[in-house]
Amino acid sequence: MDAAALQTFTSPVVLFFVLGILAAFARSDLAIPEAIAKGMSLYLMAAIGLKGGVAVSESGFDLTVAAALGAGIAAGFILPIFAFWLIRGFGRLDRINAGAVAAHYGSISVVTFVTAVEILEFQGKPSGGYMVAVMATMESPAILAGLLLARGFGSDEGQSMREMLHEVFFNSSVVLLLGAFAIGLVGGADGFADVSPFFEAGFKGVLCLFLLDMGLIAARRIMDSRAVTWRLATIAIVLPLVNGVIGTVLGTMVGLDVGSSAALGVLCASASYIAVPAAMRLALPEADPGIYLTMSLSITFPFNVLINIGLISAFASMIAGMGGG
């Protein structure tokens, strides 16, 4: 394992995240207005979508892209099953809560992905632009999977199921990511040149402030939290480790380059804390947000940003080297 795993810590993006965590633990009143945070997250999604679309408009769609999309969707359906089994067994949660947590770990976190893309680029292992599309398609399947695990097949009331499916396919981040991706694809590098000072030059800076906010929120939540046992905390570390390995191996197996394999690993390792919680309040209102949000946002998210992205990146390089030997 190379030094990559540690290098993360000198990136200003990660340092701002750490600053947020420290400020929250020191009980500082530092806070970013919700409207600003929401605005930054929309900006980040539009920017990453555009960038991916432009990249694909240049490289074109090919078999690799199709393979990556297939791998992502498959992972979205399969990972929740493993997670569910672990959470019910080792984690000792009831069916409803276990299903909700499984949905979170099967889905993805946009910010974790974006941070990983920055770090991978910084380490000279850029991931393919099509990974943005993979990410967008991975957001939703796990919501369905988690719901089926929690409720079983027959028991659902039709109306809430329809609402839920709509939420799954037209939820704001899916629409914005894929929409911006399509705009990038249509406009190409030329059309993008116009708006790139805004979407490209500002990107890392906005990511810094957004991660500052996420650090504050993640740390404050864990300080208030009472619902998470040591068993669940352990799962919130083990799942990203295991899923990261699975995703990276999967990516390498279907022929992705090192950066893209690592990015797929990060997607599998990441847990949603924006789109899925909203869907779960609607579909499984009895499930306790104190459990699933604390696990995904306050444990898994920092673990991924601070440690696991570095590990996955190193692991991707390692197995790519082995395949090449």
Partner: protein, 102 residues
């Protein structure tokens, strides 16, 4: 002297994600309208929360004014999910002008 009539004012605290469940119940009770106001933070048995719009974990206050019978219909309709959905409901008598509108 202007004429006032008595109506019930109902306020329901609900998760933003669940608001449509509440407003659909208001519509089912055939109440003429409702108004939603934002909520900043709170504390209940589950501990403290802050409004975290990015995460979709914020709450809002739904308020509606209705004649007693429709208000009770709404309360009865919504009572079963109060606990499972973490709703908080309170109601009281208010005087309104133009009572025929409610």
């Amino acid at each position: 002297m202007i004429e006032t009539v008595t109506r019930k004012r109902i306020e329901i605290l609900a998760d933003a994600a669940l608001v449509r469940r509440v407003t659909q119940a208001i519509d089912r009770a055939e109440i003429t309208g409702w108004t939603i106001t934002p909520v900043q933070s709170g504390k209940g048995r589950d501990g403290h929360w802050r409004e975290e719009r990015v995460m979709g974990t914020d709450k809002v206050l739904v308020l509606t004014i209705a004649p007693e019978d429709k208000a009770m219909k709404l309360a009865q309709d919504i009572a079963p999910i109060l606990t499972s959905h973490g709703l908080l409901l309170s109601m009281w008598d208010v005087q309104v002008i133009r009572g025929e509108r409610f």
